[in-house]
């Protein structure tokens, strides 16, 4: 079994709220691995902590009000990014690990051309001359499938469509051939046909460069098509983790099951009557429920769930640790009958 | 055109056109600037109690269409008939009365509620405008509306920023229902909501439709959502409807290549599903300069695409009972 490229163990990132209504424990003990060349999908709804997780890996969380708790391990190629000195961390950001955001136009500087912005990354990390960097920028734009890359390099972000901006962002991220690309909702703001293009592009680039991708999204359909393994987040924790096929075929955590059941699908006949929806709403990060955080919304919850938070338990599919679930139902499967 | 056989339609839209022109230079005296053809001749009809799903990507004009149908925007041409009344020809007073029959729910629940009004004030406003209830009677109605959309009565005291996205959207729906409309235009009502909350709101909308016998124009970019709730579906591209028909038929056997491409691109939560390798190249052209001939032809992957597609804009014509498509090759499935 190969060594993971990125090992996250017990990552905790807390935020102090402005007027002391408590501490928001946005990421509260998240652990996962990303292996070289694979795509790990991190799935969850808003408020589950997935974006904060991505930012915490590269320590991009604004330090007041947030902070990554001591004891968090973010091991990349043997070094703990959570405790790395700033100069070394800067060498990792952009060169070894790159980040692509959701809103491409918001992440690009409006007063510089896209070509200049891509070139800047090359200048900073690889110390190329400006001319060489500009040439590399045009190469990258061609690589990400921009039509007429030389001309596009001279355009400003507001002159490009959403899809083109996202391609430019990807080009910027890949300039230094990083080993890991963290993509935070890269296609959410795009049309579905453009989304398909971008996902196909990411797949092609991954195969070509052999890089790993941490794909963060709320869209289960995207994850099904693009991810090798999936981690489902809820309330600051990873509640289920499995290879993609396994997760969709055999979802074990009631939250995962609820999500899958409540998503309307193009390929299924129209559901007669109601969509099974998860009752209630995501709790606030300042007040996670005690015990299992999903218990207030879970159809199977019983006393143990309210009292004790379940650790990730092995679902026993294939290799040990391949499919883990934070749910007591794994120890008492006979309780998997919904309450009346 | 483009509605199934059955009772007379509650809503009929004919040849609706809305162009936006850039402001003329020289203080309004210069030559007319380029026009954005946001809605370029759209026609459809909705039967009472039916849900028409309108899908399209960004820039296709569906939001403009939504607002034009309820006359929040003045169309440049065309006719809109709701419950027998010609919406576009009404004088202000009659239009206000007709607004009791048709309402609209917006996409962004945060922006759709006045941040300075409590929920109670927001729900009581339509009652006051149309003189339906005041004082204690209004309070009663507000409580009833909240219950109907599944919200606690004590949320009435809260302000929008104290509610979650799903709760705000329910308030927006309640507000639209306050005047007891027959026809509801829903402009991307669940697009801004989380998956699990969206499912709750979709269920609510279906139940309300059953209970109050509502007619819906449901606008969305998510095909899966539309499939779940719509009886008939119309697909928009660059301001025109390119295909319209019964939902089941349209999803099973689309007749227009764009519809087929949309279906192929829609992500499916099943890793084992056959990945339809139909990725549409390029992006939608700017509505300022639509291509000649068929507006879709530059991106069209149809094997039989030919010169006629480049020069001759196809009309929306019936290719199966109740099912129309604007493509020269629409006789066979795309």
């Amino acid at each position: 079994m190969t060594e993971p490229l990125l090992r996250v163990r017990d990552l905790r990132t807390y935020f102090v709220t402005a007027h002391g209504s408590g501490t928001a424990r946005a990421v509260d003990g998240v652990s996962f691995d990303v292996y070289p060349g694979e795509t790990l999908g991190l799935v969850g709804e808003s408020g589950c902590g997935k974006t904060v997780t991505a930012l915490s890996i590269l320590r991009l969380v604004p330090e007041p009000p947030g902070h990554v708790r001591p004891g968090s391990l973010v091991e990349f190629e043997g070094r703990n990014l959570a405790t790395l000195p700033p100069a070394e961390l800067r060498a990792v950001r952009g060169r070894e690990i790159a980040l692509v955001f959701q809103e491409p136009r918001a992440s690009l500087n409006p007063v510089f051309t896209v070509g200049d912005q891509i070139a800047e990354a090359a200048v900073v990390h690889e110390r190329l001359s400006w001319r060489a960097a500009r040439a590399r920028a045009v190469e990258m734009l061609a690589l990400v499938g921009m039509p007429d890359p030389a001309a596009q390099a001279g355009r400003y972000p507001h002159q490009l469509s959403g899809g083109m901006c996202q391609r430019a962002m990807i080009a910027m991220a890949l300039v230094c051939r990083p080993k890991l690309l963290i993509a935070d909702e890269p296609t959410t703001a795009l049309d579905v046909t453009v989304q398909a293009q971008i996902l196909e592009l990411l797949g092609r680039l991954q195969a070509e460069f052999g890089m790993a991708i941490l794909l963060i999204t709320h869209d289960l359909g995207v994850v099904a098509g693009a991810a090798d393994r999936v981690a489902v987040m809820y309330a600051g924790e990873v509640v289920e983790q499995a290879p993609a096929r396994e997760l969709f075929a055999r979802p074990l955590h009631p939250y995962t099951q609820g999500l899958l059941a409540s998503v309307p699908r193009v390929d299924a006949p129209r559901a007669a009557g109601r969509l099974p929806a998860i009752p209630g709403q995501v709790p606030a990060a300042t007040a996670w429920p005690p015990g299992c955080r999903f218990h207030p919304r879970c159809p199977y919850a019983w006393a143990r769930c309210r009292a004790e938070a379940p650790p990730p338990l092995d679902a026993g599919a294939g290799e040990p640790g391949a499919h883990t679930v934070r749910c007591w139902l794994l120890t008492e499967p006979q309780r998997r009958t919904p309450r009346p | 055109m483009t509605h199934g056989a059955g009772p007379a339609p509650l809503v009929r839209v004919e040849g609706l056109v809305k162009h936006f022109a850039r402001e003329r230079r020289w203080f309004g005296l210069g030559p007319p600037a380029a026009r954005v053809r946001a809605v370029d001749g759209v026609s459809f009809a909705i039967a009472p109690g039916e849900t028409l799903g309108l899908v399209g990507e960004s820039g296709c004009g569906k939001s403009t269409l939504a607002r034009a149908v309820v006359r929040l925007i003045e169309p440049d041409a065309g006719r809109v008939t709701v419950a027998g009344e010609d919406v576009l020809a009404l004088r202000p007073r009659a239009l206000r009365a007709l607004r009791r029959r048709m309402q609209i729910v917006f996409q962004d629940p945060a922006g759709a509620l006045d941040p300075r009004l409590t929920v109670r004030a927001a729900l009581a406003e339509p009652l006051a405008i149309h003189r339906l209830a005041r004082g204690a009677e209004a309070a009663r109605r507000v409580a009833a509306l909240l219950e109907e959309v599944g919200l606690d009565a004590d949320l009435a005291r809260r302000y929008p920023h104290e509610l979650s996205g799903g709760q705000r959207q329910r308030v927006g729906i309640a507000r639209a229902l306050a005047v007891e409309p027959q026809f509801l235009v829903l402009d991307e009502p669940v697009s801004a909501l989380d998956v699990s909350v969206a499912a709750q709101v979709l269920n609510l909308l279906a139940e309300l439709q059953r209970r109050r016998r509502l007619t819906y124009l449901f606008i969305a970019h998510d095909l899966a959502v539309v499939k779940h709730i719509a009886d008939r579906v119309a697909v928009m591209y660059l301001g025109k409807i390119v295909e319209a028909g019964p939902a089941a038929a349209l999803y099973a056997a689309p007749r227009h290549p764009y519809t087929a491409a949309l279906l192929a691109a829609a992500p499916v939560p099943d890793p084992g599903a056959p990945r339809r390798r139909l990725v549409l190249p390029g992006e939608a052209p700017s509505p300022l300069a639509p291509p000649p001939g068929c507006p879709f032809h530059p991106r069209c992957p149809h094997p039989k695409k030919d010169a006629r597609c480049r020069t001759d804009p196809p009309a929306l014509r019936e290719v199966a009972p109740g099912h129309a498509a604007a493509c020269h090759w629409a006789e066979e499935p795309a």
Partner: protein, 308 residues
């Protein structure tokens, strides 16, 4: 000045402090309140304003002498501050402290009322221009452009000169009518952005007419520039009134206003500086307080600072 007067003055000061402290406690609960008091000068500014308003309201209780009373023109003119006259007397042997306290009423009153006129007119014009656009907007904004181009003091001078003797009411009106132009621009800009928001479209879809929409939805959400304009506007008007009075064209004597007190005391600066210094310092203090409160309000109400 008897002991009672000193006690009353102390009471007024304490009342002002207590009121501001209570306000601060309540403000801690909202984000806007906290942002307001984050300014170090906001709370002292509020205390000064509260104190001045309290003394103006309680003038009869705080002034030992009637403001227009000439006590003894022979022996008590231009007397320096003493226990009986804490701020001395002026050239007509009137008690400066009493005049100051009653003058606060006039200066603040003129400031507040003229500002009210200006802000109301400015908000109305700005809202109409911003909401209706097209030709009403074009027309109104051209009027505003002309108004902004004319120097205000000049216009007032001409008006007063043509009118002859101006009493207090018409003076307030004149100052207000010449001061609404900047407010209308600010309000128009705010209204232009508010009217695009979905809840305004929702109100139109519900059948609301323009009046209801502007009064109930647009203006309350465009209130920030109006409030800030108001706070800063009072200060401007007070300075303007002082200037006019100094030129002899403002509040008609013998009614005391801080401006005409300076005008009276100015020729005697070498001999009896307190007569002009007291009102001068008072104006400076109040206008500074108004400006700091206005700045703090602007930051507190800034929508970009709102989270979510």
């Amino acid at each position: 000045m008897t002991a009672w007067h000193w006690l009353a003055l102390a009471a007024a000061a304490l009342a002002a402090l207590a009121a501001v402290a209570a306000l601060r406690r309540r403000a801690r609960r909202t984000a806007r309140g906290r942002r307001f008091f984050r300014h170090p000068a906001a709370a002292p500014g509020l205390v000064v304003l509260a104190f001045v308003v309290t003394t103006a309201l309680a003038a009869p209780g705080l002034a030992p002498y009637p403001p227009r009373a000439q006590l003894d023109i022979v022996r008590l003119a231009d007397q320096p501050p003493s226990l009986r006259h804490p701020l001395g007397t002026d050239l007509y042997s009137r008690d400066v402290w009493s005049r100051l306290v009653y003058g606060a009423r006039v200066s603040l009153g003129v400031g507040a009322l003229a500002m009210l006129v200006a802000v109301t007119l400015g908000a109305a014009v700005g809202a109409a221009a911003g909401y209706f656009r097209r030709w009403p907007d074009a027309l109104l904004m051209r009027v505003v452009d002309v108004g902004l181009a004319l120097p205000r003091i000049f216009v007032l001078l001409v008006a007063v000169a043509l009118w002859g003797h101006v009493t207090l009411g018409p003076l307030v009106l004149l100052i207000g009518l010449t001061g609404w132009f900047p407010t209308s621009r600010l309000v128009r800009a705010e209204v232009l952005s508010v009217r695009e928001r979905d809840f305004v479209a929702a109100a139109r879809a519900l059948g609301a007419g323009p009046a209801r929409i502007i009064l109930r939805h647009v203006l309350p959400n465009a209130a920030a520039p109006i409030i800030v304009s108001a706070a800063l506007g009072i200060g401007n008007v007070m300075l303007l009134e002082a200037g006019l009075s100094f030129l002899g064209l403002g509040v008609p004597p013998p009614m005391p206003s801080w401006g005409n007190m300076i005008a009276d005391g100015w020729p005697k600066m070498a001999v009896a500086p307190w007569a002009a210094l007291a009102p001068g310092l008072a104006i400076s203090l109040v206008v500074t307080a108004l400006n700091t409160v206005g700045d703090a309000l602007r930051d507190a109400l800034d929508p970009r600072a709102e989270s979510a």
